[in-house]
């Protein structure tokens, strides 16, 4: 469970988050939506402790993450950043080996995506020579590798071909079936409709809507999530 209360953050003069309140229940799949620059990635990075809050509080399973030196909660989180940025001169195989070694986890790692994406043949190549899509696949593998209880996926299918995108979505659904808590940001509404229980709509640094996908389409009297969000955005801006 992730509880975020009154979280705020500014970068210089820009107020990115202005008091975000959000509660993500254990085992729920939440889609984080909002226009570009709404603060979705910043919010995610703050849950991971990559970015520090100016004010407010984030709790993972009830434990505040404010202490920079208490990092054990991150062992439960699988993170897939928006842009796959890797050390240039490592190969994918070395990267996986290094992370396995660093974690030192006794349980067997989840290599299913590695096989399904047919990445084994790419493991010896330096990451910098891999295509953007292939790097994104490596990125996805890393998120699932340590069988996390919480998955945080920042635009997971961006840059993936339809087949790989379907493989990844199946993997997310399988994790959901196992009771994994998942947070996904995406601009592809059909994808969120397919994967999520709830959506959280972020605009101007606050959560404007949080609830089941179906409720949102009904209250806005729209036929699908994409139109519902668009209606919400127009109404908020107007």
């Amino acid at each position: 469970m992730i509880t975020i209360s009154r979280l705020s953050k500014r970068f210089g003069r820009v107020e990115v988050l202005a008091g975000v309140d959000l509660r993500i229940e254990r085992g729920h799949v939440v889609g984080l939506v909002g226009p570009n620059g709404a603060g979705k990635s910043t919010l995610i990075k703050m849950v991971l402790g990559l970015t520090h809050a100016d004010a407010g509080d984030i709790r993972v399973d009830g434990v505040p993450i404010g202490n920079a030196e208490d990092v054990s909660y991150r062992a439960q989180i699988g993170y897939m950043p928006q842009i796959a940025r890797f050390p240039e001169n490592l190969s994918a195989g070395e990267l996986l080996a290094m992370l396995r070694e660093l974690r030192g986890t006794p349980t067997k790692t989840d290599d299913e995506l590695l096989t399904k994406f047919a990445l084994e043949s790419q493991l010896d190549k330096p990451l910098r020579v891999l295509s953007g899509g292939t790097r994104q696949k490596v990125n996805a593998c890393l998120a699932f590798l340590f069988r996390p209880k919480i998955l945080i996926l920042d635009e997971p299918t961006a840059g993936l071909d339809p087949l790989s995108s379907a493989i990844l979505k199946d993997k997310i659904l399988a994790a959901r079936a196992e009771g994994t808590t998942v947070v996904i940001t995406s601009h592809i509404m059909s994808e969120l409709e397919e994967l999520c229980d709830d959506v959280a709509f972020l605009l101007d640094g606050v959560v404007r809507y949080m609830g089941p996908v179906r409720d949102l389409t009904m209250t806005t009297r729209q036929i699908n999530l994409e139109r519902a969000i668009a209606a919400l955005m127009i109404r908020e801006v107007a």
């Binding site: 991971l48 990559l50 991150r74 950043p81 050390p87 660093l102 030192g104």
Partner: protein, 264 residues
């Protein structure tokens, strides 16, 4: 050293060994050291000339390489910070992962030509060891300074510019400034202020330690002569060493704080 630090260091070491800069760096010192031994006639003169070059080259190369290293390690850093790894451990790992190969390259490069000659002149071996120690400490000092700069400056060109500025100020402008001060206040007793000034520059501290050791303080720099007069012998060496240690610890503490507070 915690487990995580050791693993990060090992990874960074493998990276350094694989890349070309370390080999070039070590080769430069090997060629320099060998050339000076061949052409200067005596080991003492070769070590003195080596000192001059080392005091300029180590700060420059260390500052530039470390600044670039920190910016290049950004992806690696972000990746690891999403793992259950403490920022302080990662900082220590990154710092040692660069300082160790740089210092190792320097020591190996300089000492190889001496080793090939059976250790060189036995009378000068102490001086050589002092030079190696000072080179290692200066490497640690300027890596720490560069880490701090690169972590504070978001833009890499700006960071590199500041790093070069620091080198210019400490390596080049400082001596000129001391001379100007000496010229202006020639009629006043300025030995003590000059001593204080020398503590403000790790390169000058390194030079003085070397010169106290070589007993040729008057040959290089005004502060060196003053320093020798005041601190000839062990207390002076201890004081300069303590000041150098401070030059490692303070930038490291600042860098570590910047790293802990940084938003990625």
């Amino acid at each position: 050293m915690t487990n995580v630090v050791r693993k990060v260091v090992r990874n960074q070491l493998r990276d350094a060994v694989r890349s070309r800069w370390l080999a070039v760096y070590a080769m430069f010192f090997a060629l320099l050291s060998d050339g000076l031994l061949r052409f200067s006639g005596s080991d003492a003169k070769a070590i003195l000339s080596l000192t001059t070059v080392v005091l300029i080259v180590i700060p420059l190369v260390t500052l530039v390489l470390s600044t670039i290293y920190v910016y290049n390690a950004r992806e690696f850093t972000e990746l690891l910070l999403a793992q259950p790894i403490r920022r302080s451990s990662l900082f220590a790992g990154l710092y040692l992962g660069l300082t160790l190969p740089l210092a190792g390259g320097f020591v190996a490069g300089v000492s190889l030509p001496f080793l090939v000659r059976g250790g060189g002149d036995p009378a000068q071996q102490g001086a050589l060891l002092t030079l190696l120690a000072i080179g290692v400490v200066l490497t640690a000092v300027f890596t720490a300074i560069a880490f701090w700069i690169a972590l504070r400056a978001e833009d890499r060109l700006r960071g590199l510019g500041i790093a070069l500025g620091v080198w210019m100020a400490m390596g080049l402008l400082y001596d000129g400034a001391v001379l100007v001060v000496v010229a202006i206040f020639a009629d006043y007793p300025i030995e003590r202020p000059l001593l204080a000034l020398s503590f403000a520059n790790p390169i000058d501290l390194g030079r003085m330690l070397m010169l106290l050791r070589l007993d040729v303080a008057a040959l290089m720099g005004y502060t060196g002569a003053v320093f020798q007069r005041f601190f000839a012998g062990t207390p002076g060496i201890a004081l300069a060493s303590a000041a150098l240690a401070g030059w490692v610890i303070i930038p490291l503490a600042l860098g570590s704080r910047a790293f802990r507070r940084k938003d990625f």
